[in-house]
Homo-oligomer: 556 residues x 2
């Protein structure tokens, strides 16, 4: 082991993928480093790969094993992919948690939800306030994003200053929160930046990003020209957008009602922490019925087509007693995240079938991204002029493109996907080690490992069906055979049911099997499994998951 | 019942959705109509809604019950969503099948695959050749699309002429097959068109569609400038594209190998039926190893990210011994069908991580659509000048937009989603009836109904897990309890396994249950199901599917 102090960066989640961010920084001699962790996010399950799972997060095993050397957890902002795992993983880590006020309000709720003490989350002011955490000194750098109070981190270490951007965009008029301040960036870069660890999401977007404030005129015009009821959806945490939508509604002479608990919760945090001012007056749900529909505007959840959210329920017919009709307008003030196209499309179709005019962002008029585009990234590279660039928050191709963008200006870069331990100590970033990384699933009330086989068995049952069998053996005689197929067609043509076909074949073959075979549970199980596979393959064309229960009756 | 002759149109699949096309035309007095069926397509399953299902098709129940009055089945072209269900549904319908030569070759293979007689498929020439089918006289109208020999149908009836477009585009240089011929359209419109039943897929695309021939220069330039190995993927049935890709490869001095059985099969049909001429020379797989990679081009399957296709296998590391490397180029000469974004994205990322340059169609240079865009649709409306327009092949919003486009020119229109029986006899189309429509699933080797509950149970097992229980009762005493959880975490903290926890609780509660309850299988099952739910909810937070097997031992 080297006794030399090293500054290391190790992404445990969110690098080489979009979602479940978790980044570790370490400083010290090998085996004795002190650590800080940035963000504890989740990603969302799909039926394809994670049916039945509630939430997915990076497995913090590496830092869990070294939790005694973890000095702090910093949350950059309150999006689920940065904060969603806090309450679930905190027990494994148990270090002080820091966040700015709005983020801290969300973080405390996440802790409470999972039975953790919300007061371990400490509220911090932004730069120049500093938090000391072992060898690290950390400041929050305000940055615009699609949620209030997003922030980068200025991480000072004995080996130099790191800027970890978190998610950000350059927005001179973000509606809510601090505008982009190039002078502040120049100030923090004065002593030199060792490494810029930087959002890569929009590196393929060639034009300057648009300000949140550019939407106001388009949305106002759209709502002013709408005839029936107006309904708009966006991401619940995009408080600035909620304000723009509500203001446009009020300006068009409509009564505005914000529906959906997650939106109301976010607005509540924004009000109570003072990040939101001048939100236009809104009405309560119980007053909606009194407003003529042409004077009404609803702001609802479900921009991604989530089955239980207001948008999907309206598309299915009714939400909280409200129905949409011919000549109403529905606005998606949002982009569709890849993977959600089908569920969003389903809502558009259903609403269209009701005669509702559905407006989405295909014309680029009603939504702006929360991430810095390519020229914006270049501006930050130029102002900060870091010694090295570590692209983060992106799939592999984003990281690669971002690295090449930096290299084109002479900034040393490296692609650090999850598990790549990067040494930032020297002149250029070097891969020091590869750590095995994995995922944890919140499944019902239990955290399970991605490789535990539980979800794999569920996928198998979903694609192949299952057969449960009970075999009763007394004195090495088979006296009972029972089969129950699940998720398989249960009649075979006009003949006997599939269950009967399995039972008859198993009985026959066990009757004619050797006594020695019947004595062994393992051999009976193997034989019966094979028979189940064969009968099901013959009869319905599938080899199901089988579960054989062998009950041996013992004389008292 | 009315004894008046009526001309009816009834979509059984493909209207209000994209996929599994199946359209019925009828003529005659109510209850005595004679029918023809157009297309028998499939759509593809998803883990979300149809896990384990192989193929989905419209349920032909309505026409199956009237199969004695079905005079013919016409297949417009050989895409799966128009022909894929032929072999599976033919036994329910058993009418003569007609198709043009290339389509017939595919149709015969579909019949053979499912054990049906391929020779019921009759090859027909295109217009002016006519097929008599009851009161209908039908001609095939050649149209360009993204597969050879696509065709519309000219359907003459005693009530007037219908043009059923099938899928089409207006292409003056389609590379393979007949170019668009406005004069031919004008000719068939001379006697007046009663109804135009028309493709709506691209009604939202505002500009003229591009010809297949416009790709040649772009693809040639791309391949000429590629340095390492070149790999391109597209839809296997897009024979014109295969030709363009192969020609560009040969022009760039590369040896071209077409991999993937489905592509080779399609090329085989195209050769043997004479629709494809001058396909450039290609090499066999066994010769690939002898060609330096900078002189090699592979054309592979899997443009939609299909897990078993060549593209996905190359992305995972190796396909037929071939690996991709730094500086190779991979071209998606295809669009990503909604729902496939995630699997295509996975391939792009994996190939990028290998250093491969991945080119997709985001710049609109390497793929053209096979469907008519809005101005193209207008051109057809104008030339044919039909009395009425029935939009088909689209989701509801496409149908609606297309209807409104027609109405803006004074053409009477109607939205006819699946099950809407439309009366075309009069001046304007009228809804005559609504027929219950459904879907059939090919599941392993069995056709099952969408509402049979089989797939629903599989989805439940996938999201909740399952518990199988065997309860042995002798003389109304419970003498054995066995639980096997499937797809559930099987240890509870550091305590007993979930199976043990269920068994102990069930045993205790059955022991203390009243004798009368134990006598009833139904009551035991209800009680045990409740216990399983409660224990699982307490221990792992899920209520699984449970399957309780009660074995009562009887004295001999």
């Amino acid at each position: 082991m080297s006794s030399q102090n090293k500054l290391i960066f190790l992404p445990l989640g969110g690098a080489g993928e979009i979602g479940m961010n978790m980044y570790l920084y370490g400083y010290g001699p090998e085996g004795k480093e002190r650590f800080i962790l940035v963000d504890l996010g989740v990603t969302f399950p799909t039926m394809d790969t994670t049916p039945g799972v509630d939430l997915i997060m990076a497995d913090p095993a590496y830092i869990e094993a070294r939790a005694d050397r973890l000095d702090a957890i910093f949350i950059t902002h309150a999006h689920e992919d940065h904060i969603g795992a806090l309450g679930m993983l905190y027990p494994k880590l148990a270090a002080p948690v820091y966040a700015r006020p709005f983020t801290a309000a969300v973080a405390r709720a996440k802790m409470e939800e999972r039975g953790q003490d919300p007061w371990v989350v400490q509220v911090v002011d932004s730069y120049p306030e500093q938090i000391e955490a072992g060898p690290f000194t950390v400041s929050y750098l305000p940055l615009a994003h699609s949620i209030p109070e997003a922030a980068g981190l200025i991480i000072d270490t004995p080996a130099g200053r790191i800027v970890h951007t978190g998610d950000f965009k350059l927005d001179l008029e973000p509606i809510v929160g601090e505008p982009y301040d190039p002078a502040l960036f120049a100030e923090i870069a004065q002593g030199g930046i060792k490494a810029l660890v930087c959002d890569s999401t929009n590196v393929f977007s060639p034009h300057r990003g648009k300000s949140e404030s550019t939407l106001n005129a388009n949305i106002t015009e759209l709502i002013a020209n709408a005839s029936g009821m107006m309904v708009a959806t966006t991401f619940a945490s995009n408080v600035a957008r909620l304000k723009t939508l509500a203001q446009a509604g009020v300006d068009a002479g409509r009564s505005v009602c914000v529906l959906g608990r997650s939106m109301q919760r976010m607005l509540g945090y924004a009000h109570s922490t003072g990040v939101l001012e001048d939100f236009p007056p809104t009405i309560e749900l119980e007053d909606v019925a009194d407003v003529p529909r042409e004077n009404l505007m609803l702001i609802v959840t479900g921009s991604q087509g989530e089955g239980r959210a207001a948008s999907a329920q309206l598309a299915r017919g009714k939400y909280l007693g409200i129905t949409m009709r011919e000549n109403d307008t529905f606005l998606f003030s949002s982009k569709t995240i890849p993977g959600n196209e089908v569920s969003v499309g389903r809502i558009i179709n259903s609403l269209s079938a009701m005669g509702v005019t559905v407006i989405d962002d295909s014309a680029g008029k009603y939504h702006v991204s929360g991430h810095a585009n390519r020229p914006d990234l270049e501006e930050i590279h130029d102002i900060l002029n870091p010694q090295m660039l570590i692209p983060m928050h992106g799939e592999y191709r984003h990281l690669k493109e971002h690295k090449e963008l930096g290299e084109s200006k002479g900034i040393a870069g490296i692609i650090a996907p999850n598990g790549a331990m990067i040494d930032l100590t020297g002149e250029t970033p070097e891969v020091l080690d590869h750590i095995e990384t994995s995922r944890l699933y919140m499944d019902g009330t239990r955290l399970i490992g991605a490789f535990d086989g539980v979800v794999l068995q569920r996928i198998r049952m979903a694609t192949r069906g299952a057969v449960a069998m009970s075999i009763i053996i007394e004195d090495n005689d088979v006296i009972g055979v029972w089969a129950e197929a699940m998720g398989l067609p249960d009649t075979i043509g006009s003949g006997p049911s599939l269950n009967e076909a399995i039972e008859v074949t198993v009985e026959q073959e066990l009757m004619s099997a050797k006594k020695n075979l019947i004595k062994s549970d393992d051999e009976v199980e193997r034989l019966v499994s094979r028979i189940v596979n064969r009968v099901c393959k013959d009869e319905v064309g599938k080899k199901p998951v089988s579960q054989i229960m062998i009950n041996r009756l013992v004389e008292d």
